[in-house]
């Protein structure tokens, strides 16, 4: 018998230090802008300063004549070089929009690229922008999504014939009858304002063309190298082996780098055309104006309950402001549809109707942003729950307890069709309440309130679907398969282990967590494993990292491939050690025969298989390289409860967050330190969404928040210590038992903060229907509530 201690997983579940950090923290990372290619041309874009206009003429002669300028390109110069890109979908009532690398005859939002200057450096390229004259014939612009629905609104895409780019409805039961009959109804019109992903590294890309090999290599700060490779191969009519997309080190993405952008297409087209490297490094102004925005929804929602607090019915009517184009590959439907498909949350809601319209406006396109739709759905649902609790004079935790899907009810089918597999909905609530000492928190709050202080406690419980497999598209009707992931694991002739994946880590620490999985499954040493990812050339098909998929899908593929490879290593060892396969196991980079002192290192086995020909019978020399594709098919639920405690200064309207607790069930925890880090960062972004972050356009479609002075992201001083509790259970639905968790913090935090604000303001009778609740909005709310209380 092998020593049971040796067989116990050692790396999964441990706070293993991130193997990428020495590289990233000592300046040895290689980001797209770090790639030095002699003779590369730098692009600066002349971008539209109009929200909506026809382009009647462009004169680039003066710019082209300026020192250091190599060429100036407009859409006309690209005719015949590249096809427009369209994000298609099988969804009914959906209109794709063509996307050109440079605006073709018309601009639809401020910041849209119109002219590209190629120069020897970025300084010269920017100097030349002033030498470009563009004649615009302004069109009426529409910035308000409600106005964009109007009969007389300007239509952005005439071929669609409407500004409603997508429309969807989910329905179960007779909503009208249930609402009419319900004794308790709460509701309102909610607004979640537009947000920017703001990764610390702006988008950047460089394309190189090797004429001798006819190889186009795009190095880009992207989350989706595989998706881009496939799209460029189509657009440029090149075989996949001639197009390589590399996402080197990437400084954050949060969804903003999970789409294909015009700049990436343009550098690729021009590099191939010119046979020279062409690069573009976006600056913060370009990032805020053009990297896909998120979270821009208006939600009219109503929740009906019985007198005992049992939820009866929910209705939601959603308008999603998706901006000027339907983004590739996710489509404009991605976020708005998720708002309604996830609205019922982790609760038993028998009757539901949710309808959504994705409406085009003259703003930057929206796309995936950490949480996608669910932060908005959770904000609305959790506000409704708290409003109902107040109406029923029930504690908000108790009302949740009564309605969360119970353990015996899994798998539970949500009214929108989503199925929750067994997950710790109730456990998360109880664990979060215990961690924060909820009863004491309420007692302390009561005392503070009696002293006239505005203290609030907010709970948010949610569930999300992660690690989505091939049964469901990550975006509705999208013709791209995001539900499988490939791992190739090899033991090479030196005894080193390499794992190749199609994912693209951009801060998640996947080089560490996947090495942990392989180490345990293979019995290898962590130090002997290298994870390669972020390169379309590594596997036959890959997409990237987004949608809380990588730990589940790549982790599952790693488990599957490592297990098979381990069998082969052990079979080879059984020959070498002259022992039965059943008596052999591997750990710490060695195979050993149970109950004996006979063992071999992986290195010795590798040499025997690859080099020392003759040590193994010919037919026993198996390939020590295994490729497996993993498909979780449905995916798995991840659940959490957040609790926030805060105080509002009634005079200045300053919000101070005092406590923050997250209890989450992300299945089997691969690395608690990395999970903590993901939760902390995502909660910080959720706090930003709740309190300060807002992309503002004026009525004419001009962007007013074009710098980080005006677009206010939280700093360390605004984020409280965050306590995390991991349930650490195994998902029954995934290989390895992992659940995805990268987005959850951003899903729960806006709702928890909103509920805490509403709770703090309860003595004034004010409710929270809008996020972010900036100091200015809070000032107005408190002023109005105080005036009403006085009877003014």
């Amino acid at each position: 018998m092998a020593d049971p201690d040796v067989l116990r997983p050692k790396h999964i579940g441990a706070r293993v230090r991130r193997v990428e950090d020495p590289r990233l923290l000592t300046g040895q990372g290689a980001f797209a802008d770090d790639r030095i290619v002699p003779g590369a041309l730098h692009i600066a874009f002349r971008r539209s300063d109009h929200a909506h206009a026809l382009i009647s003429g462009i004169d680039t002669a003066a710019a082209a004549a300026m020192p250091g300028v190599f060429a100036v390109y407009t859409a006309a110069d690209l005719e015949g070089l590249v096809e427009p890109l369209r994000a298609t979908s099988r969804m009914r009532n959906y209109h794709a929009t063509p996307l050109y690398p440079l605006a073709r005859g018309r601009v639809r939002h401020v910041g849209e690229p119109v002219v590209a200057v190629l120069a020897e450096d970025r300084y010269r390229a920017e100097d030349a922008l002033d030498g470009i004259a563009i004649d615009y014939a302004p069109l009426a612009a529409v910035s308000d999504p409600r106005a964009a629905l109007g009969a007389d609104a300007p239509v952005l895409h005439e071929e669609a014939g409407t500004n409603v780019l997508a429309e969807r409805e989910f329905s179960r039961g007779d909503i009208a009858a249930e609402l009419a009959a319900a004794p308790i109804r709460v509701g309102g019109s909610f607004r979640f304002h537009r947000k920017a992903p703001t990764a610390i590294e702006n988008r950047a890309c460089i394309a190189e063309y090797d004429r001798g090999r006819r190889l186009l290599t795009l190095t880009s700060s992207t989350q989706i190298p595989g998706v881009i490779r496939d799209a460029l191969a189509d657009l440029l009519d090149m075989p996949g082996h001639s197009v390589r997309v590399v996402a080197a080190d990437v400084g954050g993405g949060f969804g903003g780098k999970a789409s294909l952008y015009p700049e990436e297409i343009l550098v690729a087209v021009l590099a191939r055309r010119l046979g020279r490297a062409v690069r573009w490094t976006g600056d913060r102004l370009e990032d805020l104006a053009t990297t896909s925005h998120g979270f821009d929804e208006i939600i009219d929602a109503e929740l009906a309950l019985d007198r005992d607090g049992t939820m009866l019915a929910l209705s939601a009517e959603v308008i999603g402001d998706v901006g000027a184009y339907s983004i590739y590959p996710w489509t404009a439907a991605l976020e708005p549809v998720q708002v309604v498909s996830f609205m019922p949350g982790p609760y038993r809601v028998p009757t539901y109707r949710g309808r959504v319209r994705a409406v085009a406006t003259n703003k930057a396109p929206t796309g995936p942003y950490r949480g996608v739709g669910r932060p908005i759905a959770t904000f609305v649902m959790e506000r409704l729950v708290d409003m109902a609790a107040r109406r029923l004079s029930l504690d908000p935790a108790e009302l949740r307890r009564r309605n969360l899907v119970r353990p015996e009810e899994f798998p539970y089918r949500v009214a929108s069709g989503i199925v929750w597999d067994r997950s710790g909905f109730g456990e998360c609530l109880e664990r979060a309440c215990a961690a924060i000492d909820y009863p004491k928190l309420r007692t302390d709050q009561g005392k503070a309130r009696a002293a006239g202080r505005l203290c609030g406690v907010g709970i948010a419980s949610y569930a999300e679907l992660t690690g989505i497999g091939s049964r469901i598209s990550a975006a509705p009707g999208m013709p791209i398969n995001t539900g499988t992931e490939t791992a190739t694991i090899r033991l090479d002739s030196t005894g080193a282990v390499t794992g190749n994946f199609g994912i693209a880590s951009h801060g998640q620490g996947l080089e560490t967590t996947l090495a942990q999985v392989i180490a345990d499954e293979l019995g290898a040493r962590l130090a002997d494993i290298q994870i390669l990812q972020g390169d379309s050339a590594l596997v036959a098909h890959g997409t990237g990292t987004y949608a809380s998929r990588s730990a589940v899908l790549a982790g599952g593929a790693a488990v599957s491939a490592a297990r098979l490879l381990k069998e082969r290593i052990i079979r080879a060892a059984s020959h070498l050690l002259e022992a039965a396969v059943e008596d052999i196991d591997a750990a710490d980079g060695r195979v050993f025969v149970s109950g004996t002192d006979r063992s071999l290192s992986f290195r010795e086995i590798a040499r025997a298989v690859y080099t020392e020909i003759g040590r193994l019978p010919r037919d026993a020399r198996e390939e020590l390289e295994v490729t497996k594709v993993y498909d979780p098919f449905f995916g798995t639920a991840t659940a959490a409860t957040h609790i926030a405690a805060l105080e509002i200064d009634p005079q200045t309207c300053k919000v101070r967050l005092d406590r923050y607790v997250v209890a989450e069930d992300c299945g089997r925890v691969i690395n608690p330190m990395i999970v903590d880090g993901q939760v902390h960062g995502a909660v910080a972004q959720g706090i930003g969404a709740a309190l300060t972050e807002e992309i503002v356009y004026d009525e004419a479609g001009q962007l007013l928040t074009a710098s980080l002075v005006d677009y206010v992201i939280p700093a360390a001083s605004e984020v409280p210590p965050i306590e995390t509790i991991h349930l650490d259970t195994e998902s029954p639905s995934t290989l390895g038992g992992f659940r995805g968790m990268g987005e959850g913090g951003t899903i729960g935090a806006p709702a928890a903060v909103a509920n805490a604000l509403a709770d703090a303001l309860a003595p004034l009778g004010a409710e929270i229907f809008e996020l972010p609740m900036t100091p200015e909005r809070l000032f107005r709310l408190i002023t109005e509530a105080t005036a009403q209380a006085r009877g003014d």
């Binding site: 920017e126 600056d283 002075v709 206010v712 900036t774 100091p775 200015e776």
Partner: protein
């Protein structure tokens, strides 16, 4: 986001800098800490033909006590002010304000001369200089000049400085005995520009306020002294009602603007709230200091 081309000069002495600036006055900009100038250059909102870098003028980096007051060289970094024992002893309100000036990285570079010459209406240093009746001393080809801080700032990012004038030092005159002071700021994040900031000094003798000063940033086109409020306090006995009335008057006597971050109403409200807090705190600190 790259600056337009410019010529760069890096003089070794004030005399040399004065001559260089005199020759190029209108098209040149002085580069000190660069914390406001460089972003403006990168956005191409400013496109000067020349930059005169004064960071080598070590003669302008000093702190010296003088007649109970302080002479502060124009090239003194914010961090030096923030951590100076002399500043803390003589002008604690300045130490208090410095902690609100941006972040440590910015305070390591930014200079007092640069902040005053840049004249951001929401910045702390112009407001504190106004509060403390600072003298702003300059040099140009024509010789030295002295400006009263109260007359120095003329609007957003504009001052009385002539194109060829270099701020050389700031003199803060001594505060009277039995003076307390306080500073308070509201910003969206720690270190951001003020949505409103208010600072006060209160001087008492024989149980009465002999003098009070109240200055405001972020609530008007330039840092303000609220003369009317100050007058309402002088000669009075300090109590909560007096402060309440003064605070209300402070809110009414500013003329703030509305922008993305805050409405005029909210700024006016904040000025009143912060005025109440700093007057109360400044007065409370006298008792502590006198004990």
């Amino acid at each position: 986001m790259k600056p337009a081309p410019f010529e760069y000069f890096c003089p070794d002495s004030l005399d040399e800098a004065v001559v260089l600036l005199a020759g190029r006055a209108a098209e040149a900009k002085l580069l000190a800490g660069g914390q406001s100038l460089v972003p403006l250059l990168n956005f191409r909102l400013l496109q000067p033909a020349a930059l005169i870098d004064i960071n080598r003028l070590s003669e302008l980096a000093f702190l010296a006590e003088d007649r109970g007051g302080l002479r502060i060289g124009a090239l003194t970094r914010h961090h030096a002010l923030e951590t100076s024992p002399a500043v803390a002893a003589l002008f604690p309100v300045l130490s208090e304000a410095m902690a609100h000036v941006a972040h440590l990285a910015v305070r390591n570079r930014g200079t007092i001369g640069g902040s005053l010459a840049h004249a951001d209406p929401a910045a702390e240093l112009p407001m504190v200089a106004t509060l403390l009746d600072a003298e702003i001393r300059t040099r140009s080809a024509a010789g030295p000049h002295t400006h009263d801080a109260r007359d120095f700032f003329t609007g957003p990012l504009s001052t009385v400085l002539a194109d060829d004038e270099i701020v050389t030092e700031v003199f803060l005159p001594a505060l009277p005995p039995r003076t307390g002071s306080a500073f308070a700021e509201f910003s969206l994040r720690r270190g951001d520009f003020a949505i409103a900031a208010v600072a006060a000094t209160v001087t008492v003798a024989d149980g009465r306020i002999t003098a009070a000063r109240l200055a405001v940033a972020g609530a008007d086109e330039r840092p303000l002294r609220l003369d009317e409020v100050e007058a309402s306090l002088a000669g009075q006995c300090f109590d909560a009602d007096l402060v309440e009335t003064a605070a209300r008057l402070a809110g009414e006597s500013v003329n703030p603007f509305t922008d993305l971050r805050a409405s005029a109403d909210y700024r006016r409200h904040l000025v009143a709230v912060l005025a109440r807090r700093v007057l109360t705190e400044a007065h409370a600190r006298i008792a502590v200091g006198a004990a």
